[in-house]
Point group: C2
Chain length 203, copies 2
DNA sequence: CGCATATGTTATCGTTGTATACATTAGTCT
DNA sequence: AGACTAATGTATACAACGATAACATATGCG
């Protein structure tokens, strides 16, 4: 019925060894090297050394393969965040943006809206775990507002990453600073409201 | 020859009337109705009633057509922002997010990183104008920090819009509120730093 | 008028996603 | 062990797409 994964102890190896993983690897490489549009099932199959129809034994369609790549991306992003979290929330934000800048196509795949996240269970699970990691960073905030805080913080860093990646900041805004300094400067503009403010969001 | 339209003004009309505009129209419709992947040069040509090669007289390639669609999107976004700006910065942020939610595919095209903005002069110009409109909303802020403020505010609303569009907020975070209320709640979490803070960005 | 050129068409190529029928291998059951 | 069954990979095919080139036609200017 359902297409199989791991029916034996580990990821069993049949003809290829582990084609599923091989395809994810190849697709990830294509994504990093040639961008989103450069990822094709056929090219991935080629690089994995199988026929162009073989991938369909492991992925329902192209989108399913991309979803698997994105899921791994969320795992990596989660790692980066966990590693930076102890150094404070500014460091956490910087780490987030750095991840996006270092793997732009992967980040675009994860968040660009190309994938309908609701239709890929594994992807959804990975994304959720990452989000929970972020919420945990706000453990010092009252529980009822923690969710909104986390949402605001995530929006901020995600938006900054996205605008940087799409090159939407005019040169004037950068003022000659390197990207890291610019990120710090922008993130530092923000303070989180401590009281249940319902007023304006800006000065 | 079924459609005979005006044919004198500026952008004169040759065979079709104004194929360039017709293609942009058709592509915009496709984008709204079938999403990014549903926009093809051939289908746009079909809907404009011309052969599949005709578009190449007006657009270098598919990306150029998409860039034209996106440029118009920036104009519309600019209008929405100008209209909301007098009602304060929270209203401005809400209007921004509303635009993204109402035209998700268009917004994704404008900001999703599919277009390399640097390579389409007209697109770049339109985007820049929109940004300048945003910066103007921060005219009460000291000039040297205005750019960073605007960048932070833009990041916030852009990130929120993107995460909403990609359905990245777990249901728990929404707490049953409708989207507008959620947007207001999230935006209200943020206050802009008034002093040249270089400390942390969160509590 | 006559002609250069902007515009549109036809034909064609290579690539892709996907479906179907077939072949082979791996793991299981007796 | 040997055969059966499901998992896996292959061969072939098709329609849609982006792109290019060769050709056709209308437009407006001299």
């Amino acid at each position: 019925m359902s297409t199989s994964t791991a029916r034996k102890p580990r990821k069993a190896a049949y003809h290829h060894g582990d084609l599923r993983a091989g395809l994810i690897r190849a697709a990830t490489q294509l994504l990093d090297r040639k961008g989103m549009a450069g990822v094709s099932l056929r090219e991935a199959a080629r690089r994995a050394g199988v026929s162009h129809a073989a991938p369909y034994r492991h992925f329902a369609d192209r989108e399913a393969l991309l979803a698997a790549v994105a899921a791994e991306g969320f795992a990596r992003l989660g790692e980066a965040m966990r590693e930076a979290a102890p150094r404070g929330s500014l460091a956490l934000g910087e780490a987030y943006v750095r991840f996006a800048i270092e793997r732009p196509s992967l980040y675009q795949l994860m968040f660009g809206g190309v994938l309908r996240i609701g239709e890929h269970a594994e992807l959804r699970a990975h994304a959720l775990r990452t989000y929970e990691g972020l919420v945990r960073a706000f453990s010092s905030v009252a529980a009822e507002r923690r969710g909104e805080m986390a949402a605001a913080a995530w929006s901020l860093v995600h938006g900054l990453a996205g605008l940087l990646l799409a090159d939407h900041f005019p040169r004037a805004a950068r003022e000659g600073r390197d990207t890291e300094a610019f990120v710090r400067a922008v993130l530092s503009q923000i303070r989180f409201a401590v009281r249940p403010a319902q007023g304006a969001a800006a000065a």
